[in-house]
């Protein structure tokens, strides 16, 4: 939890902490410098400061992850609410589609789409990450809604003639907030990993924008001479994802006592 807050703070404060967020080459110090007093994390093959790039990468990676998850959670909640509440053929059709979509591993869905772009605009990348991540969430929310539909207060609202949309927004949505929040948290960790993976394959965020996955890709050639260029961005991913997942776990226990 603390780690998480720290990470977000670092990401937000990055421009203030570092005079040089885009990491201009440090010609004087030279390329592939090991970690030292001037460059805590060393420099890369273009003599850029690795620390600056890792921190700026945090901004990029976390922004991508949060926005993408916002998109996918919204979509997932909408589809789940509609399918669960309306039921009938709407539900049947939606769930068949979700089944089919879930059958394709997310990585492949993304590969199919992302590979088509010669140069991928960041916003499109975020949208793609978001629109490929809601299938599981919609399943989860649908299940919750099916359960909630049986609750007396929902039935009472129905009996009183409340409008469907009103019931969904006033009674169902707030009660699915817990599981939704958990799904969102775990989704963030997932997207950070996915984004790193895609950037590593060269189809995600393109250089020179620093992302953790992209940095690892760049450092592949110089791994043997300058391993720090790879180690630090990797550690950044591990710490971020671990913190997010631990937080998600704690959240799940708080939301759903069955998992305690």
């Amino acid at each position: 939890m603390l780690t998480l807050v720290g990470l977000v703070l670092i990401a937000i404060a990055a421009p203030m902490l570092l005079p040089d967020p885009l990491a201009q080459p440090d010609i004087l110090q030279g390329v592939n410098q090991p970690p030292g007093a001037k460059h805590w994390f060393g420099t890369d093959q273009l003599s850029r400061d690795v620390l600056s790039r890792v921190v700026t990468g945090a901004r990029i990676s976390l922004t991508i992850a949060f926005l993408a998850v916002a998109v996918s959670v919204t979509l997932g909640a909408m589809v789940g609410l509609v399918a669960g509440y309306w039921g009938g053929w709407v539900d049947a059709v939606l769930m068949r589609i979700v089944d089919g979509a879930l059958a394709i591993p997310r990585l492949f869905v993304l590969l199919l789409v992302v590979a088509a772009w010669e140069s991928l605009p960041l916003l499109v990348f975020i949208l793609l990450l978001g629109t490929t991540g809601w299938f599981g969430t919609s399943r989860l929310i649908r299940g919750e809604v099916l359960r909630l539909k049986q609750e007396p207060y929902v039935r009472a609202a129905e009996a009183l003639g409340a409008h469907r949309i009103r019931i969904v927004l006033r009674h169902l949505l707030p009660n699915t907030a817990g599981p939704l929040l958990v799904a969102a948290t775990l989704g963030v960790g997932n997207v950070v990993l996915l984004e790193a993976g895609l950037s590593f394959l060269g189809v995600g965020v393109r250089p020179p924008t620093p992302t953790w996955g992209g940095m690892i890709l760049d450092s592949q050639e110089i791994l043997f001479v300058a391993p720090w260029t790879s180690i630090f961005p990797g550690l950044a991913i591990v710490i971020t994802v671990l913190a997010v997942n631990l937080f998600g776990d704690a959240l799940r226990e708080a939301v759903d006592p069955r998992h305690a």
């Binding site: 068949r96 589609i97 089944d99 089919g100 979509a101 879930l102 059958a103 394709i104 591993p105 990585l107 492949f108 869905v109 590969l111 199919l112 789409v113 590979a115 088509a116 772009w117 010669e118 960790g189 990993l193 790193a196 993976g197 590593f200 394959l201 060269g202 189809v203 996955g213 690892i216 592949q220 791994l223 043997f224 391993p227 790879s230 180690i231 961005p233 990797g234 991913i237 591990v238 710490i239 971020t240 994802v241 671990l242 997942n245 631990l246 776990d249 998992h259």
Partner: protein, 324 residues
């Protein structure tokens, strides 16, 4: 039981079909020309382009492209690789054994070590061992596989020279080497990729087994077993663990796709000659038919794995076996 089986099979078929249709439209609806890369490689005359378009059916309207796609699918024809100019099915067949070897090893590791560790955690619930194993496995879950692969390849393979870090077979191995030497060579190459893939995936099995085992240990029949005077070992490993294995079977089906998907990064990094590295190369080469073929294979494994799980579950669990 038969009716259930037919229903479940139909459901799997529908799911796969939906997935295939989704994939088709995903590819066709994105901007960009599948042939863009070929044309970028060398200048082509418009006739050449037209021929190629005809070859890949890109000159036809979307609906007829779709019919072609489905017809090809039905005949097991996944098109021709743009990069290799070889049928995709042939490529997959060539690459499948290596992937199966890697994926199978990882599955085996996860389902022996992972199940054992997860059960152990449940038995020691809340104790330091449980907490440490939880943290370690979760950390593994947070590790990008390509990064861990790179670091291991560098440390173990290059710096310490302990194990081969690239490929599956030592190119310097004399042709006269016997079966034993060859197997040993492959096994040595297998260690790093399999270890990497296990580290990043074993957490799921462990957590699943842990939860299932915690539930099982709370069951009244476990109390009965203790009250009967059975040894603690028998209570835990026979009464609780046996029943807790059923939910874990589910996971086995879910992990089947690891053979293709999980290993894209790891195979790529270790240059393992399987489907994963094929896919990774296809991405940089924009080799759509290959990406498509790999995706279809992955989807079929997901659907097939789910089907297999349910059938195995029904066949193994006496509650469902006889109740039908």
């Amino acid at each position: 039981m038969t009716r259930w089986l037919i229903g479940r099979t139909a459901q799997a078929a529908i799911t796969f079909l939906v997935a295939a249709v989704l994939m088709f439209f995903l590819m066709r609806l994105t901007p960009g020309d599948p042939l863009a890369r070929l044309m970028g490689d060398r200048p082509m005359t418009s006739e050449e382009v037209a021929t190629l378009r005809g070859l890949y059916g890109l000159d036809q309207p979307l609906p007829s492209q779709f019919t072609r796609f489905v017809a090809g699918l039905a005949q097991g024809d996944l098109g021709t690789s743009i990069e290799y100019r070889t049928p995709v099915t042939t490529l997959i067949r060539q690459r499948l054994p290596a992937s199966l070897l890697l994926g199978g090893t990882v599955l085996l590791l996860n389902f022996t070590l992972g199940v054992w560790l997860g059960a152990l955690q449940a038995v020691r619930l809340g104790k330091p061992l449980d907490r440490w194993l939880s943290t370690i496995s979760l950390a593994g879950f947070a590790v990008p596989s390509f990064w861990l692969g790179l670091i291991l390849a560098w440390l173990v393979g290059i710096k310490w020279q302990l194990l081969p870090a690239l490929g599956m077979i030592d190119p310097l191995l004399p042709a006269s080497a016997g079966l034993g030497a060859r197997s040993l060579d492959i096994a040595r190459h297998l260690i790093l990729p399999a270890f990497t893939l296990s580290v990043v995936s074993i957490a799921a099995t462990m957590r699943y087994q842990r939860t299932a085992m915690i539930d099982a240990l709370r069951e009244p029949y476990v109390r009965t077993a203790r009250a009967k005077g059975l040894s603690e070992r028998r209570v835990i490993w026979r009464h609780a663990w046996r029943t807790s294995l059923f939910p874990v079977i589910t996971l086995f089906g879910l992990w089947l796709p690891i053979v293709v998907t999980g290993s894209v990064f790891v195979e790529h990094v270790f240059n393992w000659p399987g489907l994963g590295s094929l896919t990774a190369k296809a991405i940089s080469g924009r080799d759509y038919p290959v990406i498509m073929g790999a995706s279809l294979l992955a989807a079929s494994l997901v659907v097939g794995g789910g089907w297999l799980t349910d059938v195995a579950y029904a066949a193994l669990d006496p509650r469902t076996r006889r109740a039908q």
